[in-house]
Amino acid sequence: MSIKKSPWIIHYDCSSCNGCDIEMLACLTPMYDLERFGIVNTGNPKHADVFIVTGTVNTQNIPVVKQIYNQMPNPKVVIAVGICAATGGIFRGCYNVVGGLDHVIPVDMYVPGCAARPEAIIDGIMKSIDILAEKQAALDEGVVPEEICGGYIYEGEHDEHGTLITDEDADAAEEEQDVGATPDQEEQE
């Protein structure tokens, strides 16, 4: 399947020490030469098949991550590169950190490391290609995954995840406040 031979990537760096970020770019250098696998760093979600996220996801960039994810055409895979993207890393538990990319969008592959080594990143991308092929097969049969909600929506109030608060949501939030801690907070504790 040709998608296995040409996975194009978009790389988004949430927030971090930029270690994984640099290693990601190192993959493109002559030393590692990602392009020999047909991989191109497109920098554009509309062209990309693989979404690589480095750094820990925080409340400010959740909508950005969601929007980029939604703007990618199916089939697509998400790779969380580095421990921050995978779990929140050393920032886990901070007031503005949700802890791991999988709280925001579905993740297909985790590449551990602090910082993740280029070899590991390349390995992760190559492994995710099989998942990409599976999704392509599903898409060919007509199974189109739904967009995830979120991303920026114009006007109206947003919650901390950047999701528009509808009247129903607002009611629900009030109820939750009555009950006490939200599920998220429980999880963090």
């Binding site: 040709s2 998608i3 031979k5 040409s6 194009w8 493109l28 002559p30 030469d33 392009e35 020999r36 696998f37 047909g38 760093n41 497109t42 920098g43 554009n44 509309k46 062209h47 098949d49 703007q71 055409p73 199916n74 089939p75 392509q136 898409l139 060919d140 189109v144």
Partner: protein, 316 residues
């Protein structure tokens, strides 16, 4: 080219008459061959380009067939879009590009070929505009500037062919029996210069780039995806084959050895352009426009004057 085809297919004969136009066997074969084979040739050239570029940068590089994998993948992706008009303009662009090249390889009128090519480019610009996306529109505007930069030189080259061989028809030019390159050396230099702009190679890759300078994301093509993006790739393939064909006719005159020479020079030109692509940073748009027009004026205009005097004084 016509002559070579005659060698293969025997005597040229009129196939049918279309509104008073005699369609010759070789014309049809040239056009059909272009329509069928140009994507393969263009894809291969693009693959070679990427391989050679990688080698120049000390990398291993992708397989030669990589562009085909890319396009096959893009064709299978989900359809997403930002506006309704976009796909129509890309489709128009493809159709006009194919028509333009088909005319060229059918040995038709050079000016008409160029005008059709321009129409194809303009449709691509419109596809960029239609999305109303900041990156795409900026790319579209820069593409327009590139068109404005290279257009005079390409037109003048056609005029040069006319003055040197007495015909605008590609078929007549390549079978003229006259080695026109010495008369059109200036035109050739100018044409190769604007070819860099036309092929969107550094230092003139303003509107979109295959390199990783991404201040415009992917410029004109930012909002294309899946099938639309695949079509725009195929447009480039068709376009590149046509542009190299234009280099070819500077040398072809019907004799087999000059045909070989023409193909070789076309490939060498492409190699040189790839080399320039890898050795320069991107220049400002002002430089693109000024240098292109200056080259057109000096090389194209100068050559034209020489041709004029040759014709007027020596009746050459």
């Amino acid at each position: 080219m016509d002559n070579a085809l005659v060698i293969f297919f025997g005597a040229d004969r009129v196939l049918f008459v279309f509104f008073g136009t005699e369609v010759y066997m070789t014309h049809l074969i040239g056009a059909v061959l272009y329509i069928v084979l140009a994507p393969f040739a263009g894809g291969l050239i693009a693959g070679l380009d990427r391989k050679v570029t990688a080698q120049m940068q000390g990398r291993h590089g992708p397989p030669i067939l990589q562009p085909f994998y890319d396009v096959a993948k893009l064709l299978g992706k989900e359809k997403i879009t930002v506006s309704n008009g976009q796909d129509f303009y890309v489709m128009c662009s493809l159709v006009f590009m194919v028509i333009s090249g088909a005319f060229f390889f059918a040995g038709s009128n050079l000016l008409m070929t160029i005008f059709t090519l321009t129409a194809g480019s303009i449709f691509l610009v419109l596809a960029g505009y239609a999305s109303n996306s900041p990156y795409a529109q900026l790319g579209a505007e820069r593409e327009m500037l590139q068109i404005m930069s290279y257009e005079p030189m390409i037109l003048l080259s056609a005029v040069g062919f006319y003055m040197a061989t007495g015909s605008f028809n590609v078929g007549d030019i390549v079978t003229s029996g006259r080695f026109v390159f010495p008369y059109l050396a200036g035109m050739f230099a100018g044409y190769v210069f604007v070819l860099i702009i036309k092929m969107r190679k550094s230092p003139f890759d303003l509107s979109m780039s295959h390199h990783a300078h991404q201040e415009l994301v992917k410029g004109l093509t930012t909002e294309f995806s899946g099938r639309t993006l695949a079509l725009s790739e195929i447009i480039h393939w068709y376009e590149n084959v046509f542009l190299l064909g234009f280099v070819f006719i500077f040398f072809a005159n019907g004799e087999p050895r000059f045909i070989v020479l023409g193909v070789l020079v076309a490939l060498v030109c492409y190699f040189v352009i790839v080399f320039i692509d890898n050795s320069f940073a991107r220049m400002k748009w002002q430089f693109t426009l000024k240098s292109a027009w200056m080259v057109t004026l000096v090389f194209g205009g100068g050559n034209l004057f020489v041709l004029y005097y040759l014709r007027a004084v020596f009746q050459v």
